[in-house]
Symmetry: C2
Amino acid sequence: MRLRNYDNLRSFAIVAKHSSLASASKELFLTKGAISHQIRQLENDLGFKLFERHARGITLTDSGRELLHTANLAFEQIEQKVSRLAGEISPPLTIGVTTYFASRWLSPRLMDFMRDHPDIRLRIQPMIDLLNLRDEGIDVAIRWGDGNWTDCLIEELFNCPAWPTGNRQAMDRVSEVGLETAFREFTLLRDREDSNAWRRWYEVAGLETQQRTDTLIIPDPNVRVQAVMDGQGVALDDELIAPEIDNKTLFRLSEFELSDYGYFLAYESSAQSNPNVAAFLKWIKNTG
Amino acid sequence: MRLRNYDNLRSFAIVAKHSSLASASKELFLTKGAISHQIRQLENDLGFKLFERHARGITLTDSGRELLHTANLAFEQIEQKVSRLAGEISPPLTIGVTTYFASRWLSPRLMDFMRDHPDIRLRIQPMIDLLNLRDEGIDVAIRWGDGNWTDCLIEELFNCPAWPTGNRQAMDRVSEVGLETAFREFTLLRDREDSNAWRRWYEVAGLETQQRTDTLIIPDPNVRVQAVMDGQGVALDDELIAPEIDNKTLFRLSEFELSDYGYFLAYESSAQSNPNVAAFLKWIKNTG
DNA sequence: ACATACTGTATAAAAATATTAAACGCTAGA
DNA sequence: TCTAGCGTTTAATATTTTTATACAGTATGT
């Protein structure tokens, strides 16, 4: 439902905060009559009541409470972004990563950077789709793949080949019937609709490339790892899943690998002029 | 920065979508002059330009693109919530869980429920703080603890005692110097400021209850498990971390446990009348 | 029991704001 | 070079919002 008047919703959020028209009217520099009209109009537009009126004040209805919660979050996002863009707040250095990479590689190393640069405010932004850096306000993203992106500057952080992983049943199946037969049975988990990683791996492994339709797309690497453990299919992973390999919940299914895979820094060329970005790039290139 | 006029921002989003005032003016049922005024006023309020004007049209500036992204997300949240509350969309059955519980316990079992109830639209909402069900639109939350909540109906799902875990160094330390001494050295990780879990465990273990100040509060269970692995302290965990125990990245530090801990269903009494909620509760009670 | 003080509401007038219509300047493309 | 289409500007107009005021209700204190 498209709302006609978002300013009324903003007033609603402030009234709800005060639980009082009279009090909110002071914050908004309006008379309580004006606020009363705004709330009434908003309720008419929405088609449900936001407040219960009693003689001595107002209280939120259940619907009102839920809407308030959503509206507060939404307005806060907007106002924070506006403040940043208007230059009122200096933007934190924002790194876009998957939760997978953040917890397995970045987090343990990040303390060093923060200790060396206590003045740099840092924001680790978990992302699924590590594209559209500018839209998300990302200064530097860390992507996994073969480095063939063209939307911005790309620099290899470290090489990290990709190879197929499966759970114990999948491993056993490969041992029993061989790679080719087993891979005709497996469901292939992939991170993106248009990913050609599996096709390339089939080539490297010398298997007949087949048009597979029974693939399952799971963009989040953590969820994908879990799906492999649960036997929902096989996925292309890298050495960051060493813990699961060590404890034998996951298995490397083949020695064939996509050797040019790795982690890459991705950033807009304009970002280099930001000294915080430059400091981060310098640090991470020495660390990786 | 508080915005004076959110309706202008809404118009901005629509203009940006069309990349054209003339075209957007049709969607908004206004003249292009009116839109031009709105955008101009918004730019004045914000203090930066949203569009670059050329002879044959307009294009977003970098700031405009970032703001558009944020605004679209925010407006979408609001409009979706409004649609739900206005009864235009039937709300999905919403389960509040930690990502920890979702990936380790719920996800593997959930397919059964979805197969048996294909008509029920389900939303798994990851939450850190599993309180305030109504604000978040949660029908049923699954909490871990001793069951002593009073804000809504509580029902035990399954018993799951809590015991202290640490990494190998912590385990070795306990072996060397004994429980009491070792626990005077450890940093205690806790999920909430006001949690009395550690105090209760000290009592159960017969250790002297001490006023500890060097505790680290990490609300998210996944992050807390990682912190324990990284040696940042010891935490109270349960058998859902069996994988980490099995592969010896985590260790149970003591046989003493909080035996009344477990996972609990939490829901408003009014939720029971929702047949989808009732079906979910019935299913999960049989599963747990 | 009753005045008091504080709610929020309702109305119509007044003020502020948004919108329009029309003319204008610009330029990409025919 | 002309033209069609773009966004802008201006001043008049239309609409919306706000106010001032009176009002009705009721917890609170005396």
